[in-house]
């Protein structure tokens, strides 16, 4: 028994301490080194973070170089598959492009309106500057989903900077070095995204499932029924982790485990270039003006007086405007009355002309009939059946085409 224990101790001691001729360090030393580094890397000393940053810079660059052959094989395979489906995809894409062009115009209008409203609410506007970044390392670890991009603190990238693939959200920066940064992808288990889902405007949190999709969690039970298949999820901006209104993905209710999943718009395995959005807050003119006024009128009485005088000024201004409008309206009424008089006179004149014209027509008819029927209506001495010329009876007889009334 004692012998076997001795053997065990000898074997352990040998494994830990015995150093062969070619080895520079014993394994025990290296274990201590490892533990020391783990502890040290969690301390926020500047020297440590600089050293960590340097190591990571070197490692990322080396990893990029070492990955070139593998990436070449992968991209060649993808290109080959793309060429086989080229024509079909071209047709579909063309149709989509036409539709998107029309939608883009209305989107731009909404965007500008949205910006204006935001600046009024928040008192500042964000000027975003999207910079293009290359993905230098995208090795998918089975446990963690992250990529390395070739932009770092040198280009004003900060922890939390939002990263996009076109206009779709990809993730956020979780580690910044001088010339590169690590981006935590939305599919990672540690990624939490506050989203709004339309239709229904349901608020939820999307958590990466560690594979290719996201899973909707932290939602009220009664709101689950409001979520529709293919509904659109976009960032709600809650918690200020992500900006609001960025498209994330579509709802997928077809999961076997009855989980509500999100199909992300972007394929995170195919990322070559991404956009990093660098935000700067610019105070609006309204905000600065308000700030100045507050500084001058520090006491409340002064503020009240200012408000009353402002109100008075507004009332006076509006009163003057009303008076001016009234004057203008009076002048307009007079002018209109004059026009009515003129039009009345014109109307009378035209009526007279029409009446005269009717009389002339009647006279003309009489003369025409007179030529034909005068012999029938004139009085004769022997047979006194007619009428004397010029009498109304004579005219009546002519108008009745020579028929004498009883």
């Amino acid at each position: 028994m004692a012998e076997s224990r001795d053997d065990f101790i000898i074997a352990i001691r040998s494994a830990f301490l015995k150093k062969s001729t070619k080895q520079k360090f014993s394994l025990l030393t290296l274990v201590f080194f490892s533990v020391f580094i783990i502890v040290l890397s969690n301390l926020n000393f500047k020297a440590i973070s600089v050293t960590k940053s340097i190591i990571k810079e070197i490692v990322y660059r080396s990893s990029f170089i070492v990955s070139i052959p593998e990436n070449f094989i992968k991209s060649s395979y993808l290109n080959l598959t793309e060429y086989t489906n080229f024509y079909k995809e071209f047709k579909i894409t063309k149709e989509e492009l036409d539709q998107l062009k029309s939608e883009n115009i209305s989107t731009q209008i909404i965007k500008s309106e949205n910006d204006e409203l935001k600046s009024l609410i928040d008192g500042y506007t964000t000027t975003s500057n999207k910079i293009l970044a290359k993905v230098i390392v995208d090795h998918e670890s089975p446990f963690l989903r992250s990529i390395i991009i070739n932009k770092g603190s040198k280009e004003k990238i900060k922890i939390g900077t939002n990263i996009y693939d076109r206009s779709y959200l990809v993730g956020r920066v979780i580690e910044v070095n001088y010339t590169n940064s690590r981006v935590l992808l939305l599919t990672d288990l540690n990624s939490n995204i506050p989203v709004s889902i339309i239709p229904g405007n349901v608020q939820a949190i999307v958590v990466g499932n560690g594979d290719k999709k996201g899973e909707i969690r932290y939602i009220k039970n009664d709101l689950i029924n409001k979520i529709e298949n293919k509904g659109i999820a976009y960032t709600s901006g809650t918690g200020s982790i992500f900006k609001s209104g960025i498209p994330v993905g579509t709802v997928d209710l077809k999961d076997e485990n009855e989980k509500i999943l999100i199909n992300f718009y972007s394929d995170f395995t195919q990322l070559k270039y991404v956009f990093a959005e660098i935000d700067e807050l610019v105070p609006t003119s309204v905000e600065t003006k308000e700030n100045d006024q507050t500084e001058v009128s520090s006491n409340t009485e002064q503020i009240k007086l200012d408000l009353i005088s402002d109100e008075l000024q507004i009332l006076e201004d509006s009163n003057t405007k009303f008076l001016e409008e009234n004057k203008e309206l009076n002048t307009l009424t007079n002018e209109l009355n004059k026009q009515i008089e003129i039009l009345k006179a014109e109307n009378d004149f035209q009526k007279n002309v029409i009446q005269q014209h009717n009389l002339d027509q009647e006279e003309l008819e009489f003369l025409r009939l007179n030529l034909i029927y005068s012999s029938k209506c004139q009085s004769k001495k022997l047979f006194s059946t007619g009428f004397k010329v010029g009498t109304p009876e004579y005219k009546e007889c002519i108008m009745r085409k020579g028929k004498i009334s009883d």
Binding site: L27, Y60, V137, F143, L144
Partner: protein, 168 residues
Amino acid sequence: MIRFQKKNLLYKVYTWLPILALFISVFNEFDLNYLNIDYFSFNFPFILIFYFALKAYQKFDYFLVFLAGLFNDAVVGLPLGISSLSYILICIFATYLRNITISPNLIKDWFYFLFIISLINSINFSVLFLFFSYELDITLFIVNNFFTFLFYIIFSIFFKRYLKSLDD
């Protein structure tokens, strides 16, 4: 069979092949998980380190293994030192097995390897979950552990041939 002239540069590179393979695999994260098979992945460095530490291959410097661990942490995004500790622990267990074994047996080594990687993955998972608050899927760890165990037997055949070619 290709035979190298000893003291030739190519021969020297050939003798350093395990270390080179280790560094390439940590830089490149060689685990075939881009095949898009659900949950499929395996840990090639674990297999390589265990095998060559067990065989006490002279060019297999533990300090370089330690460095490879640091690089792996930087590439994957784990806290620095975690993989180094795992790799060194594998070396320790492999050395212990070598010391207590009189007649080596591949199947025994294989199951011992399963025990070792399970233990080390458990330590990794616990440290990351408890001390660093990482959200991790335990299924991925278990599947990774299982495939690493399965692939050991395949790779050990290649490694054996490699060592034999050096002896010749």
